[in-house]
Subunit: 114 residues, 10 copies
């Protein structure tokens, strides 16, 4: 796994919400070998550290040639970003472009201590 850089939370005593939307995510369908395209949204309440924006971008780039299903990639990103910044709460939403006439959306959440 790529390590994802973080920086100290500038206001650790306040619970506040950070959202980063990446409309340029692409991975590869493990069945067909063809590229998938999606919008990945990470929404979280930081604890001690915040995700560094450029590091997040490079983390997403690591999926460009990876064969992985929608359900798996969404849960994998949640696991990796939780490990990287240990937030109080985090939600990953992946919205995928039309395949076989259908659009898909996957949403997974993490709550510290649950």
């Amino acid at each position: 796994m790529i390590s994802i850089e973080t920086f100290p939370n500038p206001k650790p005593d306040r619970k506040y919400v950070i959202t980063h939307v990446n409309p340029e995510f692409t991975s590869v369908c493990p069945k067909t070998g063809l590229p998938d395209f999606g919008i990945i949204t990470v929404k979280y309440i930081p604890d001690k550290v915040c995700l560094e924006l450029k590091a997040l971008k490079y983390y997403y780039l690591s999926y460009r040639d990876k064969g992985i299903f929608y359900e798996a990639v969404t849960n994998q990103i949640l696991d990796d970003l939780v490990a990287a910044c240990e937030p109080l709460e985090m939600e990953i939403t992946s919205e995928w472009t039309t395949r076989g006439g259908m659009n898909s959306v996957i949403v997974a959440e993490y709550h510290k201590g649950e």
Copy 2:
């Protein structure tokens, strides 16, 4: 009933939400014999298995020549998909194009153990 293929849930220990939107659904009005057109949205929390996208598409195709009312088709899809993947929760929404100057929407839900 057509059998609907599934695959193992890649993250069975996390409750997360999967949505598939099919804007290309068509069935037949049992009264007039004319085609109906709608958008079918399935939204569910998987348990042990997930719905395979291509299998879902073929399941929807089986309605192309079937005469069935809005209210019945919505509940039938819910029954069939619940039987296929035994989810923790599932919601089917059908949105229909204008007939007689009116648009209709039907929403039906399933909650395991209720």
Copy 3:
């Protein structure tokens, strides 16, 4: 009152929601005698029967030459449709085009047993 045809609920053991939107409603302003135009939305949970779509359309047509205020027509439709299909819950929304530079919306609800 016009009688409004119904048909048996195909899934009476499940609470689900049906919505019919009519963007072509017109009645007459009792003050000016000029036509009013609105969008009428009926949203309900059926019990034993469902509203038949064509019958609903003809019911709405009966207002075309009737002089009646926004507030009254909204409550009248709710009373008539509740009487016709005895639903578990029903909500009527009427949204009216601009009159005197103002747009109006009326929302009335029925809950069985309250």
Copy 4:
């Protein structure tokens, strides 16, 4: 035919364009007896007189109970309004709500001296 009031053009020596959009037009389908709903747009270059807005509204109301086809009503309105104000140029556009799953638009033009 209803007579349509006009008023003197306040700037008869300049060719300029007036547009009135009526999104609340309704007439009756001569085949089914059911109401049709449309948006009527009149766009014209006045000569000696302009169409009075309230008179135009009442003219449109005269179609509320009239059975007439899309193509005929569009040409009839053009003929009547040209007769009423003798413009240099006029264009009538009628846009109709969905019937049988289809939307229709009719456009007819008049050019003085052609």
Copy 5:
């Protein structure tokens, strides 16, 4: 204060919601003397009487030459309309066009008996 006409609630035994949106409100900034423009929305549950639409329009017109701040006008309208129709609940929303590069929105509510 202008008196605001009302009429008897046609369904006093049902709690339902009436909304009137006026996108053509204008008053005067007491600091600069320049006009302010806004959208005023009144949303209420009537008790014994309803606000008459034309009376409401004339009430709003009384602000056309009045110098008054956003926060004050919103609360004043709420006080005046509550006094006029003694509703069960009422909410006033004022949305103002850009001033100094900023848009403002004020929302004030009344609940009977609080």
Copy 6:
């Protein structure tokens, strides 16, 4: 070929434009056997007759089980409708939903006497 009913042009001495938009067209892909979905727009200047709306609808329905490519169906509809009503001018536009991540649009025109 299905014969397509027409009716006499109510204003044959004026060149005017009629547009019918059908957002519910479906045919079958001859390669995969899967359904295609599109919006078909016919725009024409009538000569002696106009296309009857209900007949046009039934004509479109005849493609529901036909295997035919985008380019071919567009030109075929133009040929059939020109034969049916012999217009002065006609344009067919077909807009297709996403296949393989791509959207397609085909436009073909007919001009009498060219």
Copy 7:
């Protein structure tokens, strides 16, 4: 007439286009005494001078209490602004909010030397 301040065109040897859109115009209907609301757009090619933005705003304010018809106000603004800055070309568009269920738009143009 209010005099309208101008400033020297910073690039008099190039024909270029300036547009100012005022969505906050209001005047008074001479028939009913009620306010009218519109969007006034001035689009012009300057010659020796440009219209000063603040002066233009104050010019528009002078209509706030003036009773004048749509067609007249549009032509009057064109005449006044042409007199103020003597442009090579100018176009005034006035778009009015709904009155009697109808929206109106007036467009008038000036071309130097015609």
Copy 8:
């Protein structure tokens, strides 16, 4: 810190909500030295005083040349505005334009006495 002018709350005995949206915020990225652009929304329930709109505008201008991260600027604005007007509740939302292909949103809240 710049002092931010306030004025007495015109209705201190009612809890109501004021929102000011500034779509023209700009600060400087401390890493690259390049400008950042965002929309800052302040939403609050005033206690004894309200934020003066012009003073708020000048406060925002003080960030034009300041190097500061998204997370820090959002929390800093919340701290400064809370100090200035001591509201009952306040929420700051900052929405940032695309950087590195990603959009970011930060939301921070203050509740008196927590």
Copy 9:
């Protein structure tokens, strides 16, 4: 160069227009090595053959790992597709997502015999 499959034009005696929009194009910036994302639209009048949709998709995929500038990729696609199907006319439009705060669009055309 990848060879791009074609099929015989089903209506070679009529000049008509085919458009294929690919919103999922991605290549690599030769300066930074980071991916670029764009929408590629090909619009053409076929002569003897048409572009096969699946072949076109695979042609676009060949850019996924190629370092190439916006201006070059647009002209290269035009050259390749003209060589593949020898159309009467063709236009390529590439619309690129935000880089450095800016959006770019490139349009290149081919006309046979010029």
Copy 10:
């Protein structure tokens, strides 16, 4: 004047169109000293060289602290970019956010050899 880097046109024998949209332009109003915000669009047909995107961005940044009117900045950008890349044709459009309740747009063009 800042020098603006260019690179060789990859297809100098074809006339094609390049557009760069910068929605993050800001300069200073010379009258009030307050910032102006706008969208600057450059659209051009290159001759021997193209504008380098990053250089263009830095060129725009040089206006951040410059006091200059809308009309002047638009013409200045046109003059500077024409000097930098000597295009066959170029058009600059500047669209400005609301000031004094009005939006402004300026468009200036250059054609080589005129």
